[in-house]
Amino acid sequence: MLDAAGPQAARVLDLWWLTLAICLLVFFGVLLFCGLALWRAPKTQGPAAPDLASLSMAERGPRAAVAVAVAASTGLLFVLIIASFVADRALANMGPPDLKIELTGHRWWWEARYDASDPSKTFATANELHIPVGRTVLLELKADDVIHSFWVPNLAGKKDLIPGRTATLSLRADRAGTYRGQCAEFCGVQHAKMALLVTAMPQDEYDKWAAAQRESAPEPADKQQARGLELFVNGTCAMCHAIQGTPAHGRRAPDLTHLASRRTLAAGTLPNTRGHLAGWILDPQGIKPGVNMPANPMPPEDLDALLAYLEALK
């Protein structure tokens, strides 16, 4: 949150510094007067006779001091309320979007569907967003099962994904880079391992990336890869996963059409390497206990073939 890479996060960060300054002022003010009271009041050890003077004589000094302190704190609070209101309005007015992405929360992964309104341009990916630098992106947030919350601290505050509703969030990255986000609403047993990466890239790179994502999966290049595809389509994989350009059209789990181009596996749980992918296919429950993917024991040569095919899905 302290390293803003976009206007939304920057707005909040400005408000944060103002609020922090005022709060520190009040905190040390209260401590100062509390400390002064401790320092200047006479001390006693034991139940000395009570001082009842205040019952017969009004205490003008303390009364004025308390009144001033209450007035000052009320004034500072109004400054904060107004600053918060102004920042809130600015956050809500981001202007028309240049790009729309439909982001759906699942237990425990993210499904992203780009340009869903135009069938010729749409494509799906998972657990990663790529956005062009300097463009306003409108996220349409939905949930498939329980409530999740989308939160990428460097870019913007969080927004809940609620079943039965569609929320929207506009954001913009002004600096190229990769920003980590994580589900922020408790969503069950693997809430901790539901991360996503947002990569902001220059417009031309983004266009190249989007064009590549729109392609169907490449044909298997050799016999081993062909065996891998056969295992994928005829085994249990295709019941949940999709690979465009093949008969695999499952929608319960991430679309794997361009799996090899992604940086992580299992929603930010593992780096995307051959070894981790093999471990994940064989024993997902050992890595992410409670995840919906079952274990897939298979002979080593089948695993090699499957990995060879998946690794080719650039």
Partner: protein, 629 residues
């Protein structure tokens, strides 16, 4: 000592006497000891969580158990510790502070204690049988609904809420009736100790807030057990409805933990400043203002939930403005100390921590009240830090102060000042080391309720530090238990009013007799024991004419506390206990079959009928003491 009064007001001896006890002091102490037991249990769960989080990718505790741990920790601390411990304090102390011989409904108070105990035990039995709830203490639907939490885990959570609601509401009714009708003659509302004011305000808040969670959890149980669709968006229900209902209760709940903390502060600070409280009318109005505002800010728990912008701004303003009544009280306490002579005994030390810890927590509360800041801070460790600063600083530190302060009243002995100061510093330092780093973790992006975190995000150092703080807190708790044990076994009896305090509970023996006061006092000032010496009374200073052979109490008017009539109070009875057992069977049975509601209502009806069945002997006695005016 008056042997006849003692005989009349004592609980019967023996095992059946144990289950028939209705003396408010016995019930109050049971509340306190039970609540402390749950506090220790929830603390151990927290220690386990801190051990798991001390290192990244730790495998000490798996996700399934971890989710049960934080759910149990939150549920226990909120429902089984914080609210009951405050009600226990009120039930023990109110009649003594008000100059009364009993709480208003002693049998009902006993019943509410048993319901609380059985609800808590049920939750822990479920936890040890591995059917402990795992959807968070807030149990958001649809996660807590039938589809995503199959099995009985969430049902046990929802039924724990039912138990707490019942016992909390009954205790609140007792507190309100006791405060409004059983004050000593002359204790007008304007002379009531601030402690009593705070407990009265809290009880009214419970009365208005609890029905919301009652509705919410009943609808959840119906969704889960009967197949209704209150929260199922696929069938026209609404997932956000739960959040509104839950937080409409949940936010006031924070204040019925915090306001009793203020009650302790406003008792301890004047006593140890050796002068009356500065700004009494402002303090009372601030308490009432807090209670009203507390019902207007529940939405600040839901800023990220896609609600209309303008509505959210209203809740930002309300959430920030509630700081003002608290600020007024803080300034009045400082003024009291400023003009007083300070005695820095252990209760005062714990109260002084309030200024450091609660003020910091209140200021982070102002931060999360702002919609834009909350978008970033919500559901991160920043909020974990904030809520522990507020609840521990605002309630637990003053509670320990109160425990040291009233321990001589409970037991007739003092706690060791030396051990007390050690415990204070260990607790204070441990608390800061455990919870301060969480602010930074939240700012660095660590969300709440995660059982582990990756190693490469730079969160490991602060997490380790926080876990070390938990160890220090645990050692301070050990010291506290040792201090209590040593005091019970070794300490010499102490004077009746060891702190030289001004309120009525110190005008009687420590520990008090079963009948509290030899004679009901007549009150002419806010601090009767201090101001008695000022103007020697020309009128009598106590009430005469109450029967001693039967339990008779003086009922006074609500505002002016003028004597109104004499009421006879019920004798000890085992039926509240048996009724509580029957209700427990009904509640637990209904987790497994809706028919339990039908069949188990039969024993409940029988037990409650026998509870109220008039005894011939008692009726004759009561008639005999009726006199014409």
């Amino acid at each position: 000592m008056n042997p006849l009064l003692e005989k009349t007001w004592s609980d019967p001896p023996g095992v059946s006497g144990f289950f028939s006890a209705i003396d408010h002091k016995t019930i109050g102490l049971r509340y306190l000891v039970t609540a402390f037991g749950f506090f220790v249990a929830a603390g151990l769960l927290a220690a386990l969580m801190r051990m798991q989080l001390s290192r990244p990718e730790n495998t000490l505790v798996g996700p399934d158990l971890y989710n049960q741990l934080f759910t149990m920790h939150g549920t226990t601390m909120m429902f089984l510790f914080a609210v009951p411990v405050m009600q226990g304090m009120a039930i023990y102390l109110l009649p003594l502070m008000l100059g009364s011989r009993s709480v208003a409904f002693p049998r009902m108070t006993a019943f509410s204690y048993w319901i609380y105990l059985f609800g808590g035990l049920m939750l822990y039995v479920a936890f040890f049988l591995n059917i402990g709830p795992d959807a968070g203490w807030f149990s958001y639907v649809p996660l807590a609904g039938p589809e995503y939490s199959p099995g009985k885990r969430v049902d046990f959570w929802a039924q724990t809420i039912t138990f707490s609601e019942l016992s909390g509401l009954l205790a609140a009714v007792t507190v309100i009736a006791t405060v409004l009708k059983l004050r000593a003659p002359g204790m007008t509302l304007a002379r009531m100790p601030l402690f009593v004011w705070a407990m009265l305000v809290t009880a009214f808040m419970i009365l208005f807030a609890m029905p919301a969670v009652m509705l919410a959890s009943t609808a959840l149980i119906l969704d889960r057990l009967v197949g209704t669709h209150f929260y199922n968006p696929a069938e026209g229900g609404d997932a956000v409805l739960w959040q509104h209902l839950f937080w409409f209760f949940g936010h006031p709940e924070v204040y019925f933990i915090f306001i009793p903390g203020l009650a302790f502060m406003s008792t301890i600070i004047p006593t140890f400043s050796r002068r009356p409280m500065f700004g009494y009318p402002a303090m009372v109005l601030a308490l009432i203002a807090t209670a009203f505002l507390a019902f207007g800010l529940w939405v600040h728990h839901m800023f990220a939930a896609h609600l209309p912008e303008l509505g959210k701004s209203f809740f930002t303003a309300a959430s920030m403005l509630i700081a003002i009544p608290t600020a007024i009280q803080i300034f009045c306490w400082i003024a009291t100390m400023w003009k007083g002579r300070l005695w820095l005994a252990t209760p005062m030390l714990f109260s002084l921590a309030f200024f450091f810890v609660l003020v910091a927590g209140g200021l982070t509360g102002i931060m999360v009240a702002s919609v834009p800041l909350d978008f970033q801070l919500h559901d991160t460790y920043f909020v974990v830090a904030h809520l522990h600063y507020v609840l521990i600083g605002g309630a637990v530190f003053p509670l320990f102060g109160a425990w040291y302060y009233w321990w001589p009243k409970f037991t007739g002995r003092m706690l060791s000042e030396r051990l007390g100061k050690w415990q204070f510093w260990l607790f204070f330092i441990g608390f800061e080391v455990a919870f301060y780093p969480m602010h930074h973790l939240g700012l660095q992006g660590m969300p709440r309720r995660v059982y582990t975190y990756p190693a490469d995000l730079g969160w490991d150092g602060l997490n380790m530090l926080s876990s070390l703080g938990a160890v220090v807190i645990a050692s301070s708790m050990l010291l506290f238990v040792a201090n209590c044990m040593l005091s019970l076994r070794r300490a010499a009896p102490c004077p009746e009013n060891p702190w030289g305090a001004g309120t009525l509970e110190w005008a009687t023996a420590s520990p008090p007799r079963a009948y509290n006061f030899d004679a009901i006092p007549i009150v002419r000032a806010r601090d009767p024991l201090w101001e008695a010496s000022r103007e020697p009374p020309s009128e009598p200073d106590h009430v005469v004419g109450l029967a001693e052979k039967v339990r008779e109490a003086l009922v006074t008017t609500a505002v002016e506390a003028m004597p109104d009539h004499r009421a006879t109070f019920p004798n000890p009875s085992v039926w509240p206990f048996i009724s509580a057992v029957a209700v427990t069977v009904l509640f637990v049975g209904s987790i497994f079959t809706p028919w339990a509601v039908v069949w188990a209502s039969l024993p409940v009806a029988i037990a409650v009928t026998l509870w109220f069945w008039p005894r011939h002997k008692e009726t004759v006695e009561h008639l005999a003491i009726e006199k014409r005016p």
